[in-house]
């Protein structure tokens, strides 16, 4: 009658089950080492803020930036392997990810794109009024309802087309929306919030306007870099972006190939990027 399987093939466990358990695993590590973090997205989303039945394929956590080294040490102690670093994980350099053969992907965030205040300060604000939410029957701290609405809308501003804004913003009562706007003001996230809820045009003069419009409407890689340069707050930040632009993302190439890339492969990818950049420029010249 009874079936019990230990260490099943990962493929046999649905991703949703693995994600739930992995949240609990990460939380236990955090408790053992006094690491402050918040669980985000997927099963961490409070009821009613997202479409029913929507599943997440990875575990997302926001860690207090000063606790990041402890978290990295903790997750790697039980077998998570880093696959991307913060410089190459995303255009915002806000997250890096790790892979575990049993628990899958773990995305560690030290900031949330769209939030302008200092990362440590942002964590304080988002952690204020955090709730204990049961994931896999394990108490996990998650942002409160207002903060979750803002986080979902800011995420939608970068990845438009889903239904998150419908649930997290449109369905909210006016008083709830006012709370989200107030939180966005406190976090210097008003432009990103506006991008998520269709009010971006009100911020045409803001340095990050072009960047959020790029996410909302799409465009070429060149458009994206131009927007990122415009949004960079200082000359040093702009210089850093240009340097990064010239570098092939070895982490992503490694994931694409399933193994570390060779030097020849990195050089080949660099040439491919140059060709793509040249093609984009050529298109623009013809359009002009």
């Amino acid at each position: 009658m009874v079936l019990m399987t230990e260490e099943p093939d990962v493929a046999t466990a649905p991703i949703a089950a693995r994600v739930h358990l992995a949240h609990a695993v990460v939380q236990k590590l955090a408790e053992e080492r006094n690491i402050e973090l918040l669980h985000l997205k997927g099963p961490a989303v409070l009821p009613g803020l997202r479409a029913e039945g929507r599943q997440s394929s990875d575990v997302d956590v926001l860690v207090r930036p000063s606790h990041l080294p402890r978290l990295i040490s903790a997750v790697e102690s039980i077998g998570w392997e880093q696959r991307t670093d913060f410089a190459t994980g995303s255009v915002f350099a806000h997250a890096a990810n790790w892979w575990h053969d049993d628990w899958g992907w773990l995305d560690v965030h030290v900031s949330w794109p769209g939030v302008g205040v200092d990362d440590e300060q942002a964590f304080d604000v988002l952690a204020r009024g955090a709730l204990q939410h049961s994931i896999a029957h394990w108490g996990c701290p998650v942002p409160n309802r207002t903060a979750q609405r803002l986080i979902l809308v800011l995420h939608a501003a970068r990845s438009p087309g889903g239904t998150d804004v419908d649930h997290a913003w449109t369905a909210a009562e006016p008083a709830e929306q006012a709370e989200v706007r107030a939180l966005a003001r406190e976090l210097d996230a008003e432009v990103a919030l506006a991008a998520g809820i269709g009010e971006l045009a009100l911020h045409r003069d803001h340095p990050t306007y072009a960047l959020w419009r790029h996410f909302a409407e799409g465009g070429s890689r060149l458009d994206e870099w131009r927007a990122r340069l415009a949004a960079a707050p200082s000359t040093r930040a702009k210089a850093g972006l240009v340097t990064a632009a010239m570098r092939v993302n070895r982490d992503h190439l490694r994931m694409e190939l399933g193994r570390p890339p060779t030097r020849a492969e990195v050089r080949a990818r660099q040439r491919q990027r140059l060709r793509k950049a040249a093609a984009e420029l050529s298109t623009r010249v013809k359009r002009a």
Partner: protein
């Protein structure tokens, strides 16, 4: 002395009901943070759900029989065997 059984404090678990999945009863569990994933299918999941409320062996047998529409006599041996296994891998505590 009558023993009581309960899910161990360091176990995280999720069942098909939590996942809003309509397929056959299945529970996925692990000892956090370093335990391997364990899969309990069908009647094994039913016993696990009975253990979630805690109780004596008789309580769990009664709950498992009720959930499976069987008589207690029909499920007793299997429930005892499974609980022994779950205690052995330390995902269930015997107090």
């Amino acid at each position: 002395m009558i023993h009581r059984y309960r899910i161990a404090d360091d176990v995280a678990w999720v069942s098909q009901e939590d996942l809003d999945d309509g397929s056959s009863p299945t529970a996925y569990l692990t000892r956090v943070p370093g335990g391997p994933p364990v899969l309990l299918e069908g009647s094994g999941c039913v016993v696990w759900l009975a253990l979630a409320d805690g109780g004596t062996l008789a309580d769990v047998i009664a709950a498992a029989a009720e959930m499976t529409g069987s008589t207690e006599a029909e499920v007793t041996e299997d429930v005892e065997t499974l609980i022994d296994q779950l205690v052995a891998i330390r995902v269930v505590r015997e107090d």
